[in-house]
Subunit: 344 residues, 2 copies
């Protein structure tokens, strides 16, 4: 911790002080740090300086699936299971890339999580896209890391759809749960969306509806095929050969509204956590995640360099010079790069 500069914040407290407060249960301090993470750039870099240096780890769990699959209710019940199972500090991040609101401002989140509103052991936060460079792809992993660092375990991230953000979030969590419905098309649909490949656990929610058994069966068949063909990318052979038992994503049935099957889901999530640590896959995923997070910062840095170049004073005149035969694209680019300099 010796190399860390003491960055002071708007409240006059250093980030180390805020971090200590957040670890001691100060939810306001934690909320402020999450807002800094959402802001991006230097603001989130300051938080990263303390959060990434924490040795505290929690299991991060992504819950994804089509809108209307019942994810919110499922998450609410899942948190109860985790709390009953002995978890003392549980966090939920509700990610909505389409909403302009964030910071817990989404009404629905506050309503649906009412059952946990009196529980100090549950921390809930909504995150939406603020449009800054890197956006949610950077902010969500950094928020998860912060929540782990202050002692939250598990950190559950719920996303609203089955798009690029969901794939990104899935690649940033330890365990990805994909929620389907009996009525939500069929397993083929799930395959098309590419979620067969990102799931560690499948849940057929609303399993009291017609078609649940068929959905489970179809999905199982597809998984067996993917497994035997070795095309499930998360099922990699260990360097020491076949001695390692690979994770075969289970297909569970739940009825979130009644809580049926949710304890089993929580148990499967914990089993997957154990598998990750015992197999060494947890570490290899964390390494990939570290690579990805560095790459995102580098890409954001490059993109902001480009923006700086395009808004510089010389830009228009060098475009003119290239168009009219007084310069060429290479010379113009070189001059522009030299103009912005490297005074970051």
């Amino acid at each position: 911790m010796s190399t860390m500069k003491r960055a002071s914040t708007a409240t006059g407290r250093s980030l180390e002080e805020m971090m200590d407060a957040a670890m001691g249960g100060d939810r306001l301090a934690l909320a402020r740090m999450l807002t800094m993470v959402e802001r991006g750039g230097k603001s989130s870099a300051k938080v990263a300086q303390v959060s990434y240096r924490s040795k505290q780890r929690g299991q991060t769990v992504g819950i994804t699936g089509a809108p209307g699959a019942g994810k919110s209710t499922l998450v609410e019940k899942l948190i109860s299971s985790a709390r009953e199972g002995g978890k003392s500090q549980v966090a939920v991040i509700a990610v909505d890339p389409t909403s302009p609101f964030s910071g817990g401002a989404i009404l629905g989140d506050r309503i649906r999580m009412q059952s946990h509103s009196g529980d100090n052991g549950v921390f809930i936060r909504s995150m939406a896209s603020r449009g800054h460079l890197g956006g949610l792809s950077m902010a969500v992993p950094e928020a998860m890391r912060l929540l782990e660092a202050v002692g939250m375990d598990p950190v559950v991230v719920e996303t609203v759809g089955v798009g690029q953000v969901e794939i990104e979030v899935a690649s940033a969590t330890d365990t990805t749960v994909v929620v389907l419905n009996p009525g939500w098309g069929d397993a083929i649909q799930a395959n098309k969306a590419g979620i067969l490949e990102i799931a560690d656990i499948f849940v057929i929610n609303k399993a009291d509806r017609p078609g649940a058994k068929e959905a489970v069966r179809d999905l199982q068949q597809m998984l067996d095929m993917a497994f035997s063909l070795g095309i499930h990318p998360r099922m990699v052979e260990q360097p020491d050969g076949m001695s390692q038992e690979l994770w075969h994503p289970p297909v569970l049935e739940t009825v979130a509204s009644t809580g049926e099957g949710v304890a089993e889901l929580w148990s499967a999530i914990e089993s997957h956590g154990v598998y990750l640590e015992e197999s060494g896959e947890g570490e290899s995923r964390r390494r990939k995640r570290a690579e990805r997070s560095i790459a995102l910062v580098l890409e954001a840095e490059m993109a902001s360099q480009l923006d700086k170049i395009r808004s510089g004073q010389m830009y228009a005149s060098l475009v003119d010079a290239t168009e009219s035969g007084r310069s060429d694209p290479y010379e113009a680019a070189e001059k522009l790069i030299r103009e912005v300099g490297y005074d970051r």
Copy 2:
């Protein structure tokens, strides 16, 4: 020309000397310079230094359309029309992003252009993707600029498909000709592929086949609608209001195999060239092209910085440090950027 460094080449001649030779009709010098353009990086930067500084301009014409639409035959006949119309130096670039061959090595090109093989006023070159940074998106516009600079007019660029490369090439030429067939689905298909928006001239080739009249009619209707709704992006209102007559893409019929309608196509291409200069749109397109070419060099530069960073000595250890809590993504990225330095 005073600021220009004299770059010497493998043959011992400076690029200025090669350029002078190429302008004087030395086809070997021109071919060597095109190979340098294809090579990318510093090699193409040297050529750009001389080619972009030339005041010589020619009309660049993109010929695009689905494979099998008869583009090659059409281009062959179009060149005859241009030559008969008084053009003394005509160039053709045949772009094939799927072929590993380039430099005129594509057998088909040599065969189909046989009718021009004895004509010193026609220069033909094939270009294929060499896989370097920026690839054809950079190489094709730079090759066109070089051909213009040595006195070629028109410079015709033929592409094989209707994909991203074609859209890129179209945005880099003065005049884009989209070739359709009566049998090639219908005009709706053309609209779906996004080519309605990039065409300055439409050609229904193989117009002696059934369905030609219907194809022309359908396309005309779609264009009239696009025109009246103002959704054709190349039809922008001039700053001085509606006084400017906008270009309305004509729909022509050709039978390339017999040459029918090709003279009219050449005449339409020339008319579009006149329109571009009189309306001022030619200059605004050239300006956009200069911007695009600078952006491509900048992006290639950024991408090569990222590659350099990822292959650096510190990369693996900084990923480790971030994973294990001794660093964070921002600090790691900063150190990596500092490591590669800015010693370009």
